[in-house]
Symmetry: C2
Subunit: 202 residues, 2 copies
Amino acid sequence: MSPRPYRMERRREATDQNRDRILAAARELLASKEPSARFSLEEVAHRAGVARMTVYYQFGSLVGLLQGLCDSLAMAGGMSHLADAFRQPDALDAMDRFVAVFMDFWHSDRPVMRALGALAVLNPEVAAVLDERYDWRRKGVRMLLERVAQQTGRPTPKRMKEAADLLYLLTSFSTYDTLAVPGRSHAVVIRLVQRLARQILS
Amino acid sequence: MSPRPYRMERRREATDQNRDRILAAARELLASKEPSARFSLEEVAHRAGVARMTVYYQFGSLVGLLQGLCDSLAMAGGMSHLADAFRQPDALDAMDRFVAVFMDFWHSDRPVMRALGALAVLNPEVAAVLDERYDWRRKGVRMLLERVAQQTGRPTPKRMKEAADLLYLLTSFSTYDTLAVPGRSHAVVIRLVQRLARQILS
DNA sequence: TATTTGGTTGTACATTATGTACAACTTGGC
DNA sequence: GCCAAGTTGTACATAATGTACAACCAAATA
């Protein structure tokens, strides 16, 4: 028999709220530096005020939870503005916006980004999740450089590859994490990286 | 009673050999990408052909093992050449050598470097070990820039801080790991980073 | 040769984590 | 009132770290 056309709005709401609390707990735990708060499914559940089994029911596994976390971060981190960058008529303006979007993204939940990157290095499954979700950056860099090349006269392929790798490096979390230090505001970091990006193309 | 003046050369040799085999097994395991080869004390011992208790006896704990691994990597990765860099009479030559030493270091056992960095992010104890051992880079950058500033006329403090952070970024593992891709030789990576470092100072 | 000592090994145990299975329960939706 | 989605608790299997302790081995020493 076919599934009945349930509405279930209130239930949806309740379970979504649970999901959100679980994700929030996971964020908190990943961001927390105290060694007492080790990141584990058990602790996430406890912090979310939910049974361990609920986390399994909602996300399937620890990797599933991280997958949900990635999506949640992309939503909250302003990755939706990425399309705006490419709508800029001028290629260099587009690059500036591109840089800014990623700096904002890394800034939005910095300790979690750091932890996720580390988990990805150590766990191939997590790496696959991140690669899939952060592939936008690779593609974006390529597209941007294509536009810049067309606008300013195409450079040699070798220089293109070099510029692509450098722009990829500049927009990486590691770059943001190294340059965003106490005493240098977020806005200044963005302008600094934008300046470096333009230097690369000259 | 005071300890007797033991010689024990042959025993030393034997145990040192054991230590080396354990460290080698740890390196292999950390470098191995197959998910079957999870990094654990148990697996390290098994690969080294040694009982688990021996690893504990020699290194105390997993963190102790990683500590030993760091020291071993520094020895094998040519960090001893760091002093040579600072013996260069010209400041910019010194910087070139400085860059080359670190690129060689990151290159020497790349997958292990990658894994160690990730472990450090997730484990404060490991982070302390790495910070202690890799502080040379922070200090080195500062010293280099002091020399460059004296040689070329001292720039503003703000630019100094910026240059220091950028040079720190350029000599990081992350930079090496991003730029050393198939099709770009190690030597080319070094020259590329050296060129970027000089650009920073202009 | 006999003994001491440093290093190795095995066993047992406590603790913590992931993950699966399954039954019981709760509550919104029909 | 009934159904089903979602939640919870219990039990269990597996694997990892870490500690304690006793047994053992072989080199070094007296």
